[in-house]
């Protein structure tokens, strides 16, 4: 007990990393053998993590040296200057290399929105896909060729909702399509964000406005596209035909109270749903589940689209969209040895470490190229590497700014209210618009 800070470079990761990442990869990637590297398991829960880092950094603790940070809340840390500015600390060639190699959205959530400087290093990305039970689909008359098509060219929500409803009809499972629409941060950042995006909606207009300038961007939650996406979600559950599109009832009412563990419990754990939206981790889970016979029966495709890209004006919206999740590595400015810390950090970008991260803990590389090359061989992701690459390319980040945590809260509260019919969609969005504007104007 006592100071675990010692002299090693400590990376605060999670349990999975701490237990499964082979440290040797760092040395293979050229880190001096002199440097001890330790990976500790920080809090698993993302909110707890952020709280823990707030206090660690506030306190000027020297350990951990490197912190694995959710791209959903890294920018506030950057804005306040709580973590080290990598562009100031590291040579620009390396910075440029990282920026060029990595998923763009990941880089943007690691950068200071005012200056564009990269303050954190992308670590691994995550994005949701649509996962479904091939066996049930087969029983309903679908075949591998359908699956292959979907894997790169997902159906629209009109089609997909009807398909799921049809398959559900013919199966003996309780649920059709399960997804996460609880009133929680994941709704604002991800599941609603991507649904809205595929219909061409956004919180603050253009994707260029995602990371600011706060106060100088429009609040666009009252747009038709946003309302349409809410109605689509309601139609999926209630089938009332509120949306202009023809969406078939295909999801249980429970989803309005569900988050990730509930859905994977229903879909993977209990094998009790036809299809599910979820992050890559469930692919690995299904892999180990006999119901999916070693993954053979798991179908994965990019998220269905609402409107095609051509139908929407805004750049980057429409078509298939996945919410950009993922993790970044920030450097503790109070570290005892900045040089060693940066040496370790630099190695993270190497293929060796990325491969080790994929092999051990099972996280995808943050470089699209490596996703295709490395994931192709991965036992779980191998079959879906193409799909994953497409999803990664079409990822949309949440609008992270220092006020986002507060805005996010307003978003999920209002959206969930609208979903459940506690408020009409337009009333909810009007309230939301006011709340978001107030926060913008702080």
């Amino acid at each position: 007990y006592g100071d675990s800070g010692s002299d090693a470079v400590v990376i605060s990761g999670n349990q999975n990393l701490a237990q499964n990442l082979d440290i040797q990869a760092f040395y293979d990637a050229g880190v001096s053998e002199e440097i001890d590297i330790e990976i500790s398991a920080g809090p698993e829960d993302t909110d707890s993590r952020s709280e823990a880092f707030v206090s660690t950094l506030d306190a000027g603790q020297s350990s951990p040296d490197i912190m694995m940070m959710d791209n959903g809340w890294t920018i506030p840390f950057i804005s306040r200057g709580d973590i080290a500015n990598l562009e100031a600390e590291m040579d620009s060639s390396f910075i440029e290399e990282v920026k060029a190699d990595s998923f763009d959205m990941l880089v943007r959530t690691a950068s200071n929105p005012n200056t564009g400087e990269m303050w954190a290093l992308p670590f691994f990305p995550d994005y949701p896909t649509m996962q479904y039970r091939k066996d049930l689909f087969r029983a309903a008359g679908y075949s591998d060729s359908d699956f292959e098509t979907w894997a790169t060219d997902p159906p629209s929500w009109e089609e997909w909702s009807a398909t799921v409803a049809e398959v559900h009809e013919q199966s003996d499972v309780d649920y059709g399509y399960v997804w996460q629409a609880d009133s929680y941060a994941g709704l604002s950042c991800c599941s609603f964000n991507e649904l809205m995006s595929t219909y061409g909606g956004a919180y603050f207009g253009d994707l260029d406005n995602l990371f600011g300038p706060v106060g100088d961007r429009p609040v666009t939650v009252e747009d038709e596209a946003v309302l349409e996406s809410i109605n689509v979600a309601r139609d999926m559950v209630y089938g009332n035909g509120e949306a202009s599109q023809d969406i078939t009832q295909c999801a249980p009412e429970e989803v309005f109270g569900w988050s990730e563990p509930d859905t994977d419990g229903a879909f993977v754990g209990d094998s009790n749903a036809v299809a599910m939206r979820n992050w890559t981790y469930t692919i690995g889970m299904a892999e180990g589940d006999e119901q999916f016979t070693e993954g053979e029966e798991l179908g994965v495709m990019p998220m269905p689209y609402g409107r095609s890209e051509s139908e929407v004006e805004a750049d980057g919206l429409g078509g298939t969209v996945s919410a950009q999740g993922g993790w970044l590595l920030g450097v503790n400015p109070h570290t005892n040895d900045m040089a060693e810390t940066l040496e370790v950090l630099r190695a993270v970008h190497s293929e060796e470490v990325q491969a080790a991260v994929l092999d051990g803990p099972g996280f995808l590389p943050h470089q699209p190229d490596l996703v295709e090359s490395l994931a192709g061989d991965h036992p779980a992701y191998g079959d879906y590497s193409e799909t994953l690459a497409i999803a990664g390319d079409n990822a949309v980040s949440r609008p992270v700014t220092p006020v986002w945590p507060q805005q996010s809260q307003q978003v999920h509260q209002e959206v969930n209210d609208a979903f459940q019919g506690n408020k009409t969609p337009s009333a909810a969005m009007s309230d939301l618009s006011t709340a978001l504007s107030d926060l913008e104007d702080l």
């Binding site: 500790s40 398991a41 829960d45 306190a59 603790q61 990730e260 563990p261 754990g269 589940d289």
Partner: protein
């Protein structure tokens, strides 16, 4: 003097009649029986409502982790007692428990000691400014713990000083948890002890002082033992609350067992961002409750009745 409390040892009816009508007849003849039956009913009701969730928790612990989401009824879904081993394999859960036990023990001792002195002053002495001072103590508990947190956190990390004094770095040490928690639980303990110490008849303290104790000696040799129900209660309440405390103990320590992380850290480590091992959490909490249950078994003996009976003639 007090034989009025008839031991209810034969709470199980030994009547062999068994028939309801028989029972009613005898109940009319002996109203005690009705009373006893009512007591038993109420007792069973309370036991059921308190124990049922715990029973169910146990069933979750015994369930197959991947099948909890199917629903758990009165019996485990699947049967997988290995959770009780797995909790130690995934993380050093025993170390988390050790940490929390250390916090709880130290805080309880510290709080009982300080609160005893204060409780004695408030409960048994007359002095100017008593009410305002008691109020000041009470007011502390009006604030959400978060209101204390940031300055303390900075203090314990040597970022700021208190009246020019910079304490040693207390972050991620037992001190960083025990000291703030002492302050948090002190008001309750002070009030409990004030109440109980105040009720001890003066005569007994007088007797002790005549026998040659100091005032302090009388407190610890007579007042405290005679207030055993109150002291034990304050102790149990503080111990358990600290053992399970999740705010300061969570934020004032790192997340790893080596960094003096408390039980809560251990338990929530079975919950990753997207996955919750309910069975492990259940198993861990059952294991974690064992030391507390043991403590309660021991300490409740101190909550014995009629401590002052036979002491005084008045």
């Amino acid at each position: 003097m007090s034989q009025s409390t008839q031991p209810e040892t034969d709470s199980t009816d030994t009547d062999t009649g068994g028939l309801f009508t028989n029972w009613v007849d005898s109940a009319i003849a002996n109203p005690k029986k009705v009373y006893r039956a009512m007591f038993a009913t109420v007792a069973i009701f309370f036991l059921f409502t308190t124990l049922f969730p715990l029973y169910w928790l146990t069933m979750i612990a015994f369930s197959d982790g991947s099948r909890v989401s199917e629903g758990v009824g009165l019996l485990p879904t699947g049967f997988d007692p290995s959770s009780f081993i797995e909790i130690f394999q995934q993380v050093p859960f025993h170390l988390y428990m050790f940490n929390s036990l250390v916090f709880a023990t130290l805080t309880t001792i510290f709080v009982l000691l300080i609160a005893s002195l204060a409780g004695y002053a408030f409960g048994r002495l007359q002095f100017r400014g008593k009410r305002p001072m008691m109020l000041a103590v009470l007011v502390i508990s009006f604030f959400p713990p978060a209101a204390f947190f940031i300055p303390l956190f900075q203090l314990f990390n040597q970022q700021i000083s208190f009246l020019g004094i910079t304490p040693p770095e207390l972050y991620s040490t037992p001190g960083g948890v025990v000291i703030p928690l002492s302050a948090v639980f002190l008001p309750l303990a002070i009030f409990i002890l004030t109440t109980f110490y105040g009720q001890i008849p003066d005569g007994l303290e007088d007797a002790a002082r005549i026998e040659g104790t100091t005032r302090l000696g009388a407190l610890f040799r007579v007042i405290v033992p005679l207030s055993a129900p109150g002291v034990a209660t304050a102790g149990i309440l503080t111990f358990i609350a600290v053992y399970n405390e999740f705010f300061f103990s969570f934020l004032m320590t790192g997340a790893a067992a080596q960094d003096w992380a408390p039980i809560v850290d251990g338990i929530i480590s079975y919950r990753s961002q997207f996955q919750v091992r309910y069975d492990l959490m259940a198993a861990a909490s059952i294991v974690a409750v064992l030391p507390v249950a043991t403590l309660v078994v021991i300490a409740q003996e101190k909550i014995v009745s009629g401590l002052t009976s036979g002491a005084l003639k008045e």
